[in-house]
Subunit: 137 residues, 2 copies
Amino acid sequence: MTDYSLLLRENDLKATFQRMQILETISKFGHLTIDSIYTEISKVHSSISLATIYKNILMMVDRGVLTEVPIIGKKSKYEIKKDEHIHLICISCGDVHDKSFKDRTIEYIDSISDDFLLSTTHREINLYGVCNRCNNI
Amino acid sequence: MTDYSLLLRENDLKATFQRMQILETISKFGHLTIDSIYTEISKVHSSISLATIYKNILMMVDRGVLTEVPIIGKKSKYEIKKDEHIHLICISCGDVHDKSFKDRTIEYIDSISDDFLLSTTHREINLYGVCNRCNNI
DNA sequence: CTGGTTGCAAAATTTTTGCACTGGT
DNA sequence: ACCAGTGCAAAAATTTTGCAACCAG
């Protein structure tokens, strides 16, 4: 169990109950949409406001605590920021799995860029397919 | 100038004026959001309805004529479906450039997947940074 | 204490839907 | 001529905003 109050304060955000809930909920599921975060937290703290979730997700993305994971044909999910990795995404249920880069993947990918971009600040590598669970349903 | 009426009919879509306009507008700019498509087409055909754009974008994505390009922190853009490629995306202006894969990139990327996915149907590789133009403003 | 944060309610924005009319094939 | 496709207007869904009360530091 990570110390999210520290993570928040390191990023100049007060460690409120709501923010702790958001981080713990995302951590529990890995990747969640805004409305799923709201639904989950509502189960244990029914008075939480959706507006608070919105404000905080935006702010935490801005401060680099969270990362947005946009998904083709679905709503963006959010994850706790971590080392760069690949996403395996099920086109049926939308479930997302993280997968580490192999050594040298970043260098390999960055070498494909050209002079349109000054430098690469962030990479997104997503592989889409049907996951095992959906295939068996 | 590609024959979009053929492309549409191959995908069981009638070649209406509105669809032709959508495809030609996207083709002209490369990558556009739904509201930009609407704004552009309105300039030459002021009575076009935004609902028509929405219905058609969804349908053309579904039929594989268009591809959605989700972008972190911005609205999705749409491009005409083409061979797999990388996107270079400016985090400031949102401009998108296409870049061909190097040989063997697909094999390399797919080899990172694991048994969560049965097989990979689509790959997304996006590199984010500040583009030259934004850097000079 | 006090400035940032919350919850609520209202506003703004985005997307979807229903339906009579139109136009491609 | 038929039926998919269009435009409009209304509805639904999503996101943002303003503000009084609240609470973490």
